[in-house]
């Protein structure tokens, strides 16, 4: 009889894990809390650095899941897990021979950083709002008009002890560069400013993209963290920062302020970890057994990790981890 592995989460990581498990001759079952597969990527427009439509990646993964006849349980939330079973919110239990946790991350709620006025001032947006507007084909100020000046703020909910998020979310820098370029393509007359603490271009083609944003798209990069945003009388947003490279305070008003929100650990990581005896990192993400040879394994036999449940990652890395976690889990159940 085929071994059965429960994959928790039907985002990019979970789908890739399930596909690879099926290839290995193991029977995967995906448990997804939302009504459909796809996870966070469903809300994204195009992916850095190639501007590949997110839909292209999702459609291919979903199609292959369908073709492989993989069992998918949607609208099913896992409330407790062990290495051979998971308990769902409806009280039922699902049995298997191993579990791969691919539950992803939670987006930082920008309204917590009250000083930036998200949810208070009309023209303050998050990077996720921009992706949604790009998908809807209509990016504009709150009053529907085109912006002339746009500011992006990096590291909102990342590298910030004040909101208990000390880690770097890693992908927001390149997202900021990508969205700044998209804004410049949509509004060539607009001035775009990116306020950053450090620019971390970790992936292939990212640094090149950053340079292109600077040289070809005339995007202004100002090293300094915006301290506060306030409304102007005409509904714009005034921002203050230090231009640290000149050592002078800087202020300006903009038509749109975009907050590049970070990835934080899911709240239910704590509950799941406590129930199964899993280790968590200080950031709240689940901690792999070790960061090198066991980076898709947990400290509990039979429980594996794929994707951003252990740390912020991009789509490519997440796909790789899905494959790696599936291989490790398949080896475990066949042993």
């Amino acid at each position: 009889m085929k071994k059965r592995i429960i994959v928790i989460g039907g985002g990019v990581a979970g789908m890739q894990t399930a596909l690879r498990l099926a290839e290995q001759g193991v029977e995967p079952v995906i448990v997804e809390k939302e009504p459909e597969l796809g996870g966070k990527l469903r809300g994204w427009h195009v992916l850095f650095p190639s501007f590949t439509p997110a839909e292209e990646v999702l459609t291919a993964l979903r199609r292959r899941i369908n073709e492989s006849g993989i069992e998918v349980r949607t609208s099913a939330e896992v409330v407790e897990l062990a290495s051979r079973s998971v308990r769902l919110s409806d009280g039922s239990t699902l049995e298997g021979d191993a579990v791969v946790v691919a539950t992803g991350f939670t987006l930082f709620d920008a309204s917590i950083k009250e000083e930036y006025g998200y949810g208070i001032y009309d023209n303050v947006f998050t990077s996720v709002d921009i992706e949604r507007m790009l998908n809807e084909g209509r990016v504009a100020k709150a009053d529907g008009t085109a912006p002339r000046r746009i500011a992006f703020l990096h590291c909102v909910g990342s590298r910030d002890e004040k909101v208990c998020q000390q880690h770097c979310s890693k992908v927001c820098c390149i997202t900021g560069v990508k969205q700044a370029m998209e804004m410049k393509k949509l509004f060539p007359e607009a001035d775009v400013f990116n306020f950053y603490m450090d620019i971390r271009m970790f992936g292939p083609g990212y640094e090149e993209m950053y340079r292109e944003a600077q040289q070809k798209y005339n995007i202004h990069f100002v090293r300094g963290r915006i301290s506060e945003a306030s409304p102007t009388i005409d509904g714009r947003v005034q921002i203050k920062a230090e231009d640290t490279l000149t050592g002078r305070p800087l202020r300006m008003s903009v038509d749109m302020l975009v907050l590049l929100v970070g990835m934080r650990a899911n709240d239910d990581n704590a509950v799941l970890a406590a129930g199964a005896g899993l280790n968590r990192a200080p950031s709240g993400f689940l901690a792999p057994r070790d960061l090198f040879l066991g980076n898709v394994c947990s400290n509990v036999g039979g429980i594996f990790y794929a994707g951003t449940v252990t740390a912020p990652k991009n789509i490519g890395e997440t796909l790789n981890e899905g494959t790696a976690a599936a291989d490790a889990a398949a080896r475990y159940v066949e042993a």
Binding site: Q214, Q215, D243, L245, R248, R251
Partner: protein, 111 residues
């Protein structure tokens, strides 16, 4: 009646105000030399600069201020440059830094 001067003064605001600064010259400079925008502020130019080691001259800071529309004193500052070109040899972005000095002097000679 003239106001009585009690000897108190108010300092000029130090903030760079991008709503007030006229960025026309800065835009012109960047249009002629878009590569200047690729500066990542590493400071290698300033570290190797002979003028900067003997005077207050800081090439990185001056061109950054010019890009923000802060032109006051930039021409005089750039006059401290001896055009030796060592900064260009060390720039990791390959910016023609000596060209930047000449361009800023040409554009801002009347400031």
């Amino acid at each position: 009646m003239a106001a009585i001067h009690f000897g108190y003064t108010i300092s000029k605001p130090r903030a760079i105000d991008l709503d007030r600064n006229n960025l026309r010259k800065s835009d012109e400079i960047l249009r002629e030399m878009p590569e200047l925008q690729t500066c990542i502020g590493c400071g290698a130019c300033t570290a190797i600069c002979t003028a900067g080691n003997l005077t207050e001259f800081n090439f990185r800071k001056v061109h950054t201020l010019v890009r923000r529309g802060e032109y006051q004193g930039a021409y005089e500052e750039m006059n401290k440059c001896m055009l030796c070109g060592k900064c260009r040899l060390v720039c990791p972005r390959g910016i023609n830094t000596r060209g930047v000095v000449m361009l800023i002097k040409r554009k801002l000679g009347d400031f």
